[in-house]
Symmetry: C2
């Protein structure tokens, strides 16, 4: 009997025979499509089965790659040998108390599943990272996923009041719960949030919800250039207007999506701002009016759709933008740097300049209100040379983020692809503690090894 | 030259001669008035001086007790030998960008100072723990202080986007900054928030602010008993009304404060709910109307002051309540347990029952919306017997919180007085990690030793 067969047999004891599947290549990678390798993929259907699988792996020094929906873009779910633990079958809503604004869900419930369950009872789960139909709440928590509405509502972690997770060497641990405050211990919950499966595997979460805003009204403004557009964004904050989201597209990003933008992009537009007002009808109208006022100064055109179809079409279009951008040359390297808001214009312009220095088309779009840019270098999937140049350009981009007082990652995480960047962002003592925390949680370095490393 | 004189001389080199003061007893304790001991108190006036003081202590195996405004109620600032590092002279606002909703302040700026600076520019720092004129933002961060408005706005940590802290063995470390997102490293920022000075000493913070709500309208409802009052609170959430705060007082708490409640407490009232609507004028009116509707069902009386004086008088009265309660018998043991909101009524009633079993007057008040009770046992300061009974009652109270699925601490922290309670709340693996994190940050166990311990 081969080692692999033995492994599959032992894992079947942990998770059931139907819980062990062949390590097909699509189960070993994520949206990066970087090739992964593994000896087996397990799909436990209970948290206890996850604990048994981890316990077996930990006892046998087998690396473990946790896997949600596989929609990550930093290589966090790219397997490097051992066993992939997929959470997709942990898909139960354990409890839902709409009158108390809370829900307890297993890790494999999709983001859209959480959002829909909340909506059906008049509630609202605010985080809206892309690929909501595929991405899973466990993965959202493991990356502290965000999206456009994080500007007003915060990222995924803001809404997590408790976690159940399997920690090394294979124990099911709970911190927090259906409670709204807890300062008894160190904040292990926040430590697990965004840890990218390197400290433990989230199996379930208690989520806080909000009453759904009754009305959502977008305001879309087109400006001639980055400078005018960023001034408009700063004017929103300067006027004290609390938008639900403030997104932007620079000129090349806009060019990528213009053809599919149904209301039409006005001639001469080189920067697009998408802002949103939400709340009860009067409140949303008030904020909408203030957004129009702040964003119209110097604008070439302003769209203000009022109908639900217009709103949904807008966000569908925005969600498709990353694909439209990639389609330009077949592929792209896209990052998620963060800068202080007053440095946004500089970061947008510098992204283009960095691209130019490497003879690449560069563009950016993203979560303007949070200073979070998806700076993107377009490349052909056939050209190794373009890939190498884009990688060098990304290095410059990370240096730019740091020189502006920002962060190398606002929502994707380090994964595999940004390995080493944290060591430039943080000083030596913080990096040392980063490593010490990893060693405390995972002394054998078997949980998602090679990911979220400072060096 | 005595050891103490040598110590004072060496510390003077670190923080300047005027930065070393005598260890007077009031500088060695907090609101618990538990006696502390120390060989010296240093008051550095820069973060670098804090680092030098910590470096000296760390090199000489001298314990360090960080000290903010001394308004803690869990004994977190009760010194146990060595050196007290007071942060009060680190009182600069390093930067304030009102148009960008952000501020960078040193640890010794008072909570009220942060609030006022924000307000003067039309902004809003939401956390409002008690004793705002005395408590310091560094201490608020170290305890993740909350208060009534945490219900809508979250506790202090929600508003911290970056920290500067002195970590062992004496290094000034920065994580985050004036940025709104950052998932590059493990969440060291959240780990330091609420760590009660046991992992490091916060020297400065970047704070996020919000546009100030234009209007704030309280709704005060009196109910006959806990059951009717808690039903009313649940009705607020059930109706999807987003209050800024939902506070409560049980009958004994109400009796303690009734005489000083200017608008008068209606006869037969045994439970008081204080809710608040805020926002733009129309929005605040709308929420106010819904609060009145939800809280009036079964109420004995409803007060709805509209004037600023009425609002300010209300919160001043609420802030004084803890003192009015203590005044009943001269002293009190007051805790800060948290329960899921649907168990609030049970926790309120059980608090009284626990007191009765120990022949003590017990009462509770607090942050109803967050399920956060200040369960309080009244005692005479002259009676050791009453103190012992109150301590036993508190133990039962912590057990109650856990049996209801809650936490032993919602905002005070473990400090010295709740030492050992975390070991009952968390499982062994989580407790082990709590200790491992401490050991990583503070290998010599010199930072606020004896505090925030699971056992």
């Amino acid at each position: 009997m081969s080692a692999t067969t033995t492994l599959a047999r032992d894992l079947a004891k942990a998770v059931g025979a139907d819980g062990v599947v062949a390590p097909e290549s699509h189960l070993l990678t994520d949206m990066t499509l970087l090739p992964g390798s593994a000896d087996a993929v397990v799909l436990p259907d209970t948290a206890e089965a996850v604990a048994r699988a981890v316990a077996w792996c930990y006892a046998h020094d087998v690396p473990i790659t946790p896997r949600g929906g596989g929609t990550g873009v930093a290589g966090g779910a790219v397997a490097s040998g051992g066993v992939v633990v997929g959470l997709g079958r942990l898909a139960r809503v354990r409890s839902f108390d709409p009158l108390l604004w809370r829900m307890s869900v297993e890790a494999g419930v999709t983001t859209a599943g959480v959002q829909r369950t909340a909506r059906e009872s008049g509630l609202f789960f605010a985080p809206d990272p892309g690929a909501a139909e595929l991405s899973q709440i466990g993965g959202n928590i493991a990356t502290n996923a965000a999206g456009p509405h994080a500007f007003k509502y915060g990222a995924t972690g803001t809404w997590v009041s408790g976690l159940e997770a399997v920690l090394a060497p294979g124990e099911l641990v709970t911190v927090g719960g259906p409670i709204r405050k807890d300062v008894a211990g160190y904040d292990l919950k926040s430590l697990l949030v965004g840890s990218e499966g390197t400290l433990g595997i989230v199996t379930a979460a208690w989520l806080k919800l909000l009453p759904a805003p009754e009305v959502t009204l977008p305001v879309i403004a087109f400006h001639a250039d980055t400078s005018s557009g960023c001034d408009a964004i700063l004017r929103v904050l300067g006027h004290g207007v609390r938008a639900a989201a403030i997104e932007y597209l620079d000129d090349e990003a806009l060019a990528s999506g213009a053809a599919s933008y149904a209301p039409g992009v006005p001639a001469g537009a080189g920067f697009m701002v998408i802002a949103e007002a939400d709340g009860a009808p009067d409140e949303a109208e008030r904020v909408r009016g203030e957004l129009i006022e702040a964003l119209s100064v110097g604008a070439i055109g302003v769209h203000t759709p009022r109908d639900r179809e217009g709103l949904e079409a807008l966000w569908r279009w925005r969600a498709g933008l990353a694909f439209a951008v990639r389609a330009r040359r077949g592929s792209a390297l896209s990052e998620d740097i963060v800068v202080p808001l007053d440095r946004l214009a500089e970061a947008v312009d510098e992204t283009v300049a960095i691209g130019r220095r490497h003879d690449l088309i560069a563009l950016s779009f993203g979560h303007a209100g949070d200073g979070n840019l998806h700076s993107t270098f377009l490349i052909s999937p056939e050209s190794d040379d373009e890939l190498r140049r884009a990688q060098r350009a990304s290095e410059e981009l990370f240096a730019l983020a740091l020189s502006l007082g920002g962060s190398v990652s606002g929502e994707h995480g380090l994964g595999l692809v940004k390995r080493g960047q944290l060591g430039r962002q943080w000083g030596p003592r913080a990096v040392e503690l980063h490593a010490a925390i990893k060693a405390s949680f995972d002394p054998k370095n078997l949980l998602n090894p090679g990911k979220k490393l400072a060096f």
